[in-house]
């Protein structure tokens, strides 16, 4: 049992070392490297699709990390690097889709649903206020029946 726990702990400890960026890629300039990291986290690895290029061990991810660093070193802005990759791989390369005509539903959808739900709940509450409804008065039949029951009981 202890051995299994120890093994699990060791495996968990090994996880971060599997992450993509390898020491030989790291730039000497810490500011540039920081920009490369933040770009790397928002660029999709096209091979694995749901990992960023920073997280991925795929060959292409490594090539793209090196490319990002080269472009930053040659003076590109973050946006220029993004544009360069989007021109070649399409917007799919961005893990965070930009807000534009084709993606407004994606961005606004959840809020629209929330709003629709709130309106629905609000309307329902207005029609059925909790604990404030006057019970409708008994009809004549009901009154007669109630009297009958009372007499029976007595």
């Amino acid at each position: 049992m202890r051995a299994i726990v120890a093994l699990i702990i060791m495996l968990l400890a090994a996880v971060p070392s599997l992450a993509g960026v390898t020491p030989d890629e790291i730039l000497d300039d810490p500011a540039l490297e920081e920009r490369a990291r933040s770009l790397g986290r928002e660029l999709r690895c096209l091979v694995c699709q749901n990992q960023s290029i920073d997280d991925s061990d795929a060959d292409l991810a490594r090539d793209l990390r090196i490319l990002v660093r080269e472009r930053l070193e040659s003076g590109d802005s973050d946006q220029q690097v993004r544009d360069y990759l989007v021109a070649r791989y399409g917007e799919f390369v961005l893990l965070k889709p930009p807000v534009q005509a084709s993606t407004w539903l994606l961005w606004a959808g959840p809020f629209a649903l929330l709003l629709a739900g709130a309106v629905g709940v609000g309307t329902f509450m207005r029609r059925h206020p909790v604990g404030m409804t006057e019970p409708s008065p008994l009809s004549n039949d009901e009154r007669a029946r109630l009297q009958q029951l009372d007499i029976d009981k007595a």
């Binding site: 699709q49 090539d63 490319l67 021109a87 070649r88």
Partner: protein, 180 residues
């Protein structure tokens, strides 16, 4: 509003979502639309596979805009699906369709041996050892095949091994459309 029909609302919502997700299931998520479609071929210049049975001059963007439609096939000797599609590429070349190759992240000697064994359908081959030209082409998995028209515009992109049905349904129609 007639409240009697209100109960249909969740049913309709469910049907809508089901249709939407059902269509999503028919898409292959590994096939991405190419950002380069209907754009000119990217600028690149590659050395040849020295010693291959060609003029050995390599491949560059200029070779792809000389008035004749051309198929650009990205291949590698280490790529198993490339082996699967190779007979189809050979057959296209035999029909007289011009096919050029980009040898992606491969050792030239391995590529030469591979072509010697399986046949060489390419009139020109560029050796992209570091994969940089591949990035220019938006390559994310080999094999990939591009159909280029005479003006050097990318008209179609196929990701994965070319199969009979891909030729019939997509590649041949595009080739016919651009006058081949």
């Amino acid at each position: 509003m007639n409240r009697r029909w209100l109960f249909l609302l969740p049913v309709l919502a469910f049907a809508g979502i089901a249709v939407f997700l059902g269509i999503g299931l028919t898409h292959d998520p590994s096939k991405l639309p190419s950002a380069l479609l209907d754009k000119p071929v990217p600028r690149f210049e590659l050395p040849g596979l020295d010693g291959a049975d060609l003029d050995g001059e390599g491949l560059s963007s200029a070779d792809l805009a000389d008035g004749e439609p051309v198929l650009v096939n990205i291949f590698a000797s280490w790529c198993v699906p490339c082996r699967v599609e190779h007979p189809y590429i050979n057959a296209l070349a035999e029909e007289g369709i011009r096919v050029v190759g980009i040898n992606y992240k491969d050792k030239p000697e391995d590529a030469r041996a591979w072509l010697a064994g399986l046949g060489n359908p390419y009139t020109l081959i560029g050796s992209d050892r570091d994969g940089r030209a591949g990035i220019e082409w938006g390559v994310y998995g080999v094999p990939e095949t591009f159909v280029i028209d005479g003006s050097g515009t990318i008209r179609y992109k196929h990701v994965g091994p070319v199969q009979e049905r891909d030729l019939r349904n997509a590649i041949r129609p595009v080739l016919e459309e651009i006058g081949r």
